[in-house]
Subunit: 219 residues, 2 copies
Amino acid sequence: MNYSNPRYQNQGIHVLATIFTVENGVFKVLLINRKNEPYKNMWSLVGGAVYCDERVEDALRREVKEKTGIENISFRHFGIYSRPDRAPKFRMLGLGYIAVVDHQEVTFLRETTQTNNAEWFDIKKLPPLAFDHEEIVADAIEFLKANINDGEILKELFPQYFTLPELHKAYECILDRKLDRRNFRKKLLKDGIIEDTGLMSRTQKVKSSKLYQFAKLSK
Amino acid sequence: MNYSNPRYQNQGIHVLATIFTVENGVFKVLLINRKNEPYKNMWSLVGGAVYCDERVEDALRREVKEKTGIENISFRHFGIYSRPDRAPKFRMLGLGYIAVVDHQEVTFLRETTQTNNAEWFDIKKLPPLAFDHEEIVADAIEFLKANINDGEILKELFPQYFTLPELHKAYECILDRKLDRRNFRKKLLKDGIIEDTGLMSRTQKVKSSKLYQFAKLSK
DNA sequence: GCAAAAGTGTTTTCGATACACCCATGC
DNA sequence: GCATGGGTGTATCGAAAACACTTTTGC
């Protein structure tokens, strides 16, 4: 390969983090408002360019840490976006990653040098997005629905302990359909995704509920 | 983003095609022998760099056409390889794609400006491979095993018509385990992956067999 | 007539779904 | 005492797996 050939140069790699949560029964995605051109003042996904001396996963963690304060979560890759004109001026290959997090862990700054604001958006009420991010969000949601039972993807949605009704409601919000409570519990326990902690919730609900946690290694 | 920052520059994108076939009951991968440095005279996957003005899938088709003569086959993406030092001098992001083809359709040149030779290798008798291609081949095989029933991935393995024993044997070679003939036929027909053509094979086998074809659109 | 290869049907098991009742608490 | 929310068990259905016999042909 001729490394100086301009046709091989002038391209970069962009990681795009689609970060979802479920808050008060609403399935939401984290977006940031762009302070600069291109797409100034529009909303877009969290993301950024990969340095030539780092791995893609490291770039992703770096960008997400900077922009949301979140660390130590697992992302999964779901898509490649390679239209040469998807970004202006410079060809940026887009690599789409997904994570589902506990919204209470997000401690992003509302304003940074590149960002006016950052907010959770109901995925059913999204504003117009910059670049091809609408397509990417749609792909991420489809991927999440197809892989929700893989046992890893929701592990950061809750604090260590959670109740089964909470998890059940989260599944229903994400999948956008009803699930039978009894079969839901049975399946998650049988598959070893969650385990009973022996603890009970202390909330002021009508009836207290058992606390579960995600199993250390699932499947 | 500052496009002139060298930390964003000096990187490229590499597509890697893991092309498999089944020939005489042996599961094989196509490798090429490198004529130039780096890894001169070693075997490696078919692949090449993506131009900054083309889509990844187009680069893949271009490279595969040049090096094997094969056109119009479908590839599936299975992996991203991003160690910064996986290629010398220049950071090349690797994108792994897989296809399974009819070996009789491969009309690659034995020798080109970049290639000494190209050959099918039994996946159980692979030579040492250049770059991180051993890892990539292993990932591709794992991906193929997990996705063999998706109904699209084997569509180019045979000419239009094939017998069920042929397909059955191919599955067994790829999965490296025995499958029940009766359940195999039932499942593929029930799922609409293949359809009976009403034709019979004319080979000089002990008993002639029905000819099948892959269904136009599966699932 | 027998070995080799191809075709077909039945039974069993297991996972997924559908569904109903009891218990604890706040009002 | 009743409405709300949380816990549990059983019956049914369908897909997957296990399994045996018949047919054709070459020798």
